[in-house]
């Protein structure tokens, strides 16, 4: 009887334990997912949402320790359920381990490489960028991840539905770059592209990253990047008939540039030696880099001959007004535009086939003579 009690007790224990495991197994992971995270972040925010919380660093910088709770809750990281401690890995308890940073910049530079935990691709792309080259060369102002992307309040940039950046992002990007590149930002805003971007958020005009790239972005020191500007930057849109048609802009600009000595050379450099130093003008040497204006601009437009001469003289200091006419202003030669070039081409279009045709005719007659007539003559001769 005692034995039966032991057995039934054992069965009871097993049943209760299984039930407990069943319940625990069912419920715990579901609960563990978000509430724990929220609790974690809330534990941090208990203190770090207090306004004005800061720390004075040894160099005198004030390090802001307050998180804007409202802005944070709208951020893409909050949306994805990223925990404070995912990035602030060393802070697991209170009091926190001593924070060692000489300055605010040091604090940023100590943190940014953590981004690669989740954003490895973007991080590695950025390693090849002009910013990281500058950083490696000792320029501590060069932008790192969190200089462009707000660490705690960054909102979603690309629309998950389309994979494309949101419409408002184009201006936000220019604003972001402009924070450090203020002079270039001002030039861009005043340009025909920048004006269309800011005034009408025109989706056809480029923003900074359209030309420079996003994470692996390059600058003018990269000859290969500069060299591909006619074909891959300017040419990409300016040969797009559908896009240019909206604005009545010629799509012959790339072809007419490549037909010219400068463009031919640029194209050949790009094709055969993209890393060599290059001294021929690319699109932006005449039209401006960031300060691109319409050719019809009443003051600086390139339709004004003097303005072309000024750009010529940047590389040809001795050039006179005649010299600037050596550039055909993206026209294909025709009887109306640049007739001398047109008629020279026409002359050779007629002269070459005429001369070669005459020569070929004689050569063919000689071949005919050797193959057919002479043999016939010999036959006639022999038969006589």
């Amino acid at each position: 009887m005692k034995r039966l009690q032991v057995v039934s007790f054992g069965i009871g224990v097993v049943f209760i334990l299984s039930a407990a495991f069943f319940l625990v197994g069912r419920t715990q992971p579901v609960e563990a997912a978000s509430p724990t995270q929220t609790t974690d972040n809330q534990a941090c925010l208990v203190c770090h949402s207090v306004a004005g919380m800061s720390k004075t660093l040894p160099n005198g910088d004030t390090l802001d320790l307050t998180i804007d709770e409202a802005a944070h809750s709208e951020s893409v990281h909050a949306e994805a359920g990223v925990k404070c401690t995912d990035c602030h890995e060393t802070i697991t308890s209170f009091p926190h381990p001593k924070f060692e940073a000489e300055s605010r910049r040091d604090a940023t530079l100590a943190m940014y490489s953590l981004c690669q935990k989740c954003h490895a691709e973007q991080y590695h792309q950025s390693q090849d960028s002009v910013h990281f080259t500058a950083l490696a060369a000792g320029n501590l102002s060069a932008a790192v991840c969190t200089d462009c992307h707000a660490a705690h309040t960054q909102k979603r940039i690309t629309d998950p539905q389309t994979g494309q950046p949101f419409a408002e992002q184009r201006i936000l990007t220019a604003e972001t770059c402009g924070r450090c590149h203020g002079a270039i930002y001002e030039e861009f805003r005043a340009s025909i592209h920048g004006a269309a971007l800011y005034e009408e958020n025109n989706p056809d005009v480029p923003t900074c990253t359209t030309c420079h790239g996003v994470h692996s972005l390059q600058g003018p020191d990269d000859v290969a990047f500069v060299l591909k500007s006619p074909t891959e930057m300017c040419g990409r849109c300016h040969t797009d008939a559908a896009m240019m048609g909206k604005y009545g802009i010629s799509t012959n600009v790339l072809n007419s540039y490549v037909a010219d000595f400068h463009g031919t050379t640029a194209l050949l450099f790009e094709a055969t030696s993209p890393d060599q130093d290059f001294n021929k003008p690319l699109c932006f040497d005449c039209h401006g880099v960031h300060s691109i204006l319409s050719v019809d601009d009443s003051q600086h437009g390139l339709k004004i001959r003097e303005n072309i001469l000024v750009t010529c003289q940047k590389c040809h200091p001795d050039a006179n007004a005649n010299f600037s006419e050596a550039w055909l202003s993206h026209y294909d030669p025709s009887p109306e535009h640049y007739p001398v070039v047109y008629y020279v081409n026409l002359f050779y279009k007629i002269f070459i086939p005429l001369v070669l045709g005459g020569m070929s005719l004689f050569v063919l007659s000689d071949i005919l003579n050797r193959l057919v007539i002479r043999r016939k003559r010999t036959v006639i001769h022999e038969s006589k």
Binding site: V46, C47, H48, V50, G52, M53, D61, D64, L65, R104, S141, R179, C180, G182, A183, I184, E186, E187, P220, D260, F261, T264, T265, L268, T272, S273, Q276, F278, N279, L282, D285, H290, K314, C315, H316, P317, A319, N322, F323, E325, A326, L328, P333, Y338, V340, V341, V344, N345, F347, Y348, I352, L356, M359, F362, V363, L368, N369, R370, I373, K376
Partner: protein
């Protein structure tokens, strides 16, 4: 015929100097063609291949310019040599085109078609050879002038409209194409395919070849009238006149070539910086958090506006409202109420207040400065007034 080839007479057609001249022109022409065509058709993949193999477009242009210089020097040599033959030796100008050449050409053409029974009888230079020679002369003039215009565009546009530069480029390319194709069709066929004529390499033609191709010259040679001999005295007199003139001509032409090649530095070797705006120019300094100035001891030692601002700022990180530490220093009431371990402020007795004792030890998470601590002590000693 072949048996007594060794003993059959050979006729000197080209002197060694002429053969070397031909070789120099052949090499420079081929080089110009090889380096010029890829420039005329830069988009062709074959062009890109040639340019890559030669070390890039700048190297290709340098080779092209060097070959042009060689051809210009060859041309000067030829002009001076021709002058010597014409004015000093008074050789007949056998290369001049005549009406007979036109007749010969038509006769040969009709003969080829079987419409004429006899092939034309020709002298030292056949109409085919004359045509090639004068085509070369025409080509050299066009290529020289248009080449100069492209090589020296700034000098050219002092005298001509700018449009002439791209026009020169068009003519240079068109003429080049014509010359190269003419060489292939006319020259290659005429002296390589039709019959391999080795005279330009060996210098000689056999009697049979002479009879076949230059029967009139052969007849003249046999009659002894092909080359008029000059009296040594006359020769010296003519040389005395010609050499100084040739020397001046040579200097003028060489100076011209020097100007052609080195006269103009058209463009800067290094293009100026395209973007002149400073790269790094922070637009607005990144807004820094500005900490609220901590109340100083000069302020009245009361809670409101002084200690009540100091505590949340310096201690609020841990001891805020409903603090997890069990002690909240956010309100006057909470401060006097103390935490889970009892009171922290004993009004009137700063030395007995746990808050002061703890802070005086130093090393607290939210450590007050000595000045701030003195302020708190003064407030407690004053009875910790709220207002």
């Amino acid at each position: 015929m072949s048996q007594n080839k060794g003993t059959s007479p050979r006729y000197l057609r080209f002197t060694l100097a002429q053969r070397i001249e031909h070789l120099v022109m052949l090499l420079s022409f081929a080089t110009l063609g090889l380096t010029g065509l890829p420039q005329k058709f830069p988009l062709a993949s074959a062009s890109k291949l040639v340019i890559s193999l030669l070390g890039g477009i700048e190297t290709v242009r340098f080779i092209h310019h060097t070959a042009a210089l060689v051809m210009m020097l060859g041309t000067i040599y030829h002009i001076l040599g021709a002058g010597y033959k014409i004015f000093v030796l008074r050789l007949p100008m056998t290369m001049l085109p005549t009406f007979k050449d036109v007749k010969d050409a038509f006769q040969a053409f009709f003969y080829n078609l079987g419409l004429n029974k006899r092939f034309p009888q020709m002298g030292r230079y056949t109409f085919e050879e004359k045509m090639e020679y004068w085509a070369f002369v025409w080509g050299a003039i066009v290529m020289g002038i248009t080449g100069f215009m492209m090589w020296n565009p700034i000098t050219t546009t002092r005298f001509l409209p700018g449009e002439f530069i791209p026009a020169a480029k068009a003519a240079h390319g068109g003429e080049a194409l014509l010359a190269i194709l003419a060489i292939i069709i006319w020259h290659m066929y005429g002296v390589h395919i039709k019959r391999f004529n080795k005279a330009m390499w060996t210098g000689y033609l056999s009697e049979e070849e002479m009879l076949h191709e230059h029967p009139l010259e052969l007849a003249d040679l046999k009659a002894g009238v092909a080359k008029p001999s000059v009296e040594p005295k006359t020769l010296r007199r003519r040389q005395a006149i010609y050499f100084p003139i040739a020397a001046i001509l040579a200097i003028v032409m060489l100076a011209g070539v020097y100007f052609f090649v080195f006269g103009e530095t058209t463009a800067l070797a290094i293009a100026p910086q395209a973007e002149t705006a400073p790269i790094y120019a922070p637009r607005t300094p990144t807004p820094q958090p500005t900490a609220t100035a901590a109340p100083t001891s000069s302020l009245p030692q009361v809670w409101e506006g002084a200690i009540g601002m100091l505590f949340p700022q310096r201690c609020g990180l841990c001891h805020g409202a409903n603090s997890f530490t069990g002690l909240s220093l956010d309100t006057y009431t909470n401060v006097l109420a103390g935490g889970k371990n009892g009171v922290v402020v004993v009004p009137g007795k700063s030395a007995e207040s746990p808050l002061v004792i703890l802070q005086a030890q130093g090393g607290h998470g939210g450590q007050l400065t000595l000045e701030e601590l003195a302020m708190v002590e003064a407030w407690i000693d004053a009875g910790a007034p709220e207002k």
